[in-house]
């Protein structure tokens, strides 16, 4: 098992390195620079000299190769650089935002898993039945809604019309504040998980070993408990891991809408302000987060499924 974890860790390193190189290249050709974004509100004024001085200060006047060398050198010591905007270490900024993003990502995945998986299960037990039809139509509909639109509707309904929940913000990090954004973010993975679970259960329902289990004289409940559930879970787990990626991606939209202080909103702000070190740092950390979550999922899958463990 340890060996398995270790191997998965090793596999993550080249990906991280490649991501680091890729985002460096991407953002070295991005038009505009931090200094000139500072006057776009039409209030501040900055002459060319000031812009140039600022660029020099950030090392943006250096040739690309030099900048890349500096960047890689810093990365090697796990230094993500200093934010142009706040002049603080990027680690510091990311550190402040990581927890809220993780809260949001985990909460929405929990929401998706706790509702989506049982729903898919129920749907699969009677394919073509009323539960199946209704839940699958709902799932496809959930997948077809633009996220921010859904978020706005949730705000409108649950905050403004019903007054049950706060419409925005992090508050003290309380659950009340977490509910609406997690639902808005969790609907799509919920729908996908419900569909995956349904398909997985249906597939396994027809598997030979389930027939064996029935031939042993097991009741359907036992079949599900002893044999079907765990096998379906392995398939569902993989989907959960991959869905984490899209949840973190979509969090950008939801965080902006709900004024949620996560990495996503930091990333969007930093992109528009051309605060390149923060952009790079955010993407690296998001990718790392995704890789770690997927590794955990793989480890979990390996615990359940011995075939993964030994392959």
């Amino acid at each position: 098992m340890l060996q398995f974890v270790f191997r998965r860790l090793l596999q993550a390193i080249p990906i991280l390195l490649a991501v680091a190189g890729l985002i460096f290249l991407l953002f070295s050709v991005i038009p505009g620079n931090f200094a000139s974004t500072q006057i776009s509100d039409g209030r501040a004024v900055m002459d060319a000299e000031a812009v140039e001085r600022m660029n020099r200060q950030f090392g943006l006047d250096q040739p690309l190769a030099t900048r890349f060398a500096t960047y890689v050198g810093k990365l090697a010591t796990l230094d993500l650089g200093t934010s142009f905007r706040t002049r603080q270490p990027v680690w510091h900024l990311i550190g402040e935002r990581l927890w809220p993003t993780m809260q949001l990502a985990f909460a929405s995945m929990m929401f998706a898993i706790l509702i989506g998986v049982p729903l898919g299960f129920l749907a699969a037990l009677r394919p073509g039945g009323i539960v199946d039809t209704v839940s699958m139509v709902t799932a496809v509909s959930g997948l077809s809604l633009p996220k921010f639109w859904l978020g706005l509707m949730l705000m409108y309904l649950f905050a403004l019309q019903l007054g049950w929940l706060p419409s925005f913000g992090y508050g003290d990090g309380a659950l009340r504040n977490l509910i609406l954004p997690s639902i808005a973010l969790g609907v799509a993975p919920l729908a996908l998980l419900a569909r995956t679970t349904r398909a997985a259960v249906l597939e396994i329902m027809n598997a030979d070993f389930v027939r064996t289990a029935r031939a042993k004289g097991m009741s359907e409940r036992r079949v599900v408990q002893w044999h079907l559930a765990r096998n379906a879970l392995v398939i569902v787990l993989t989907t959960v891991g991959l869905q984490f990626g899209s949840v973190i991606g979509q969090a950008v939209v939801i965080e902006k809408l709900f004024a949620w202080p996560g990495l996503g909103s930091l990333l969007v702000d930093s992109v528009s302000l051309r605060d390149i070190p923060v952009v790079q740092g955010c993407i690296l950390v998001i990718v790392l987060f995704f890789l770690v979550v997927n590794m955990l999922v793989d480890v979990l899958a390996a615990i359940i499924d011995p075939r993964i463990r030994y392959s």
């Binding site: 990906i15 633009p146 398939i235 939209v253 990333l267």
Partner: protein, 273 residues
């Protein structure tokens, strides 16, 4: 039975959108860009303006029709790019193997690790906002599933008799890939492509919300929806109709994809659901 319902409803929704887009110049009442008329700003839906008008006094019905062209272009072209990239990489990796296979595998893992919306956002920030940029951004960031799938299917086909036979006959690698392998793995790829089209339409809306979508003169549904978001409480029709159009299109594509999967790819239901 249920399978048919998926296909029929999904196909009908999608066909409606295609027809609406294709016939937009005939069906539309006004030009979607030039006919801003501030005297008609924010008229509620009625007999003159079926879907009402927006803040600039443009006919939303006409704009939604023209918007179908943009959304379809976004969906179809970006998915074509994704599919071509994914299939080329996947097929060649499976066929040639070796370092090329390792490279493609690494690239695929890399693409999977960066959330596609974030990747697209980065590309949109680098290119200036616009249709072409959007097609590139969405076309370059979603091919990993297609690639994985075509690689896996091609690997299993590679050792089959008829492929080996084609090799013995001295067919070129490319020819074998295109004539012997590709036709046999097309089904699942079409399914992924169809579902991906819906995803692209939604991604366009998300990018518009983040201020990095398609900008005028194109009336894209995403930008219409995003622009109208603070009017939700006052003039809801401005956002409801483009929102419905997105919903219908994506729903249609998802149902169509499901239906196609039941026909074209009955085995792999679980894996790509």
């Amino acid at each position: 039975m249920k399978l048919r319902a998926n296909l029929v409803i999904g196909g009908a929704l999608f066909a409606t959108v295609v027809v609406a887009g294709a016939l937009a110049p005939f069906l539309a009442h006004t030009d979607p860009v030039m006919d801003a008329n501030l005297m008609n700003a924010e008229v509620a839906p009625g007999s003159e303006f079926w879907f009402g008008t927006d803040a600039q006094g443009r006919d939303i019905y006409s704009r939604v029709l023209y918007g179908a062209r943009i959304s379809l272009t976004v969906g179809i072209v970006s998915q074509l790019i994704n599919t071509v990239i994914g299939v080329c990489l996947g097929l060649s990796a499976a066929y040639w193997g070796g370092w090329w296979d390792d490279f493609v595998n690494g690239l695929t893992n890399l693409m999977l690790a960066i959330p596609s919306l974030i990747f697209a956002l980065a590309i949109m920030a680098i290119l200036t906002p616009g249709l072409t940029s959007l097609l590139i951004a969405l076309g370059l960031t979603n091919w990993s599933y297609t690639c994985r799938l075509s690689r896996a299917s091609a690997l299993s086909l590679k050792s089959q008799g008829y492929v080996q036979a084609a090799k013995v006959l001295g067919y070129g690698d490319i020819r074998i890939m295109l004539t012997q392998i590709l036709p046999n793995i097309l089904g699942p790829i079409i399914v992924i492509g169809t579902l991906g089209m819906g995803g692209a339409v939604l991604a366009e809306a998300s990018l518009s919300f983040l201020g990095l979508g398609i900008r005028p003169p194109f009336p894209s549904w995403g930008s219409m929806l995003s622009d109208a978001r603070d009017q939700i409480t006052t003039a809801p029709w401005i956002s409801i109709f483009p929102g419905l159009a997105i919903f219908m299109t994506v729903l249609g594509l998802n149902l169509l994809g499901d239906g196609l999967r039941d026909i074209l790819d009955p085995q792999s239901r679980a894996r790509t659901a």
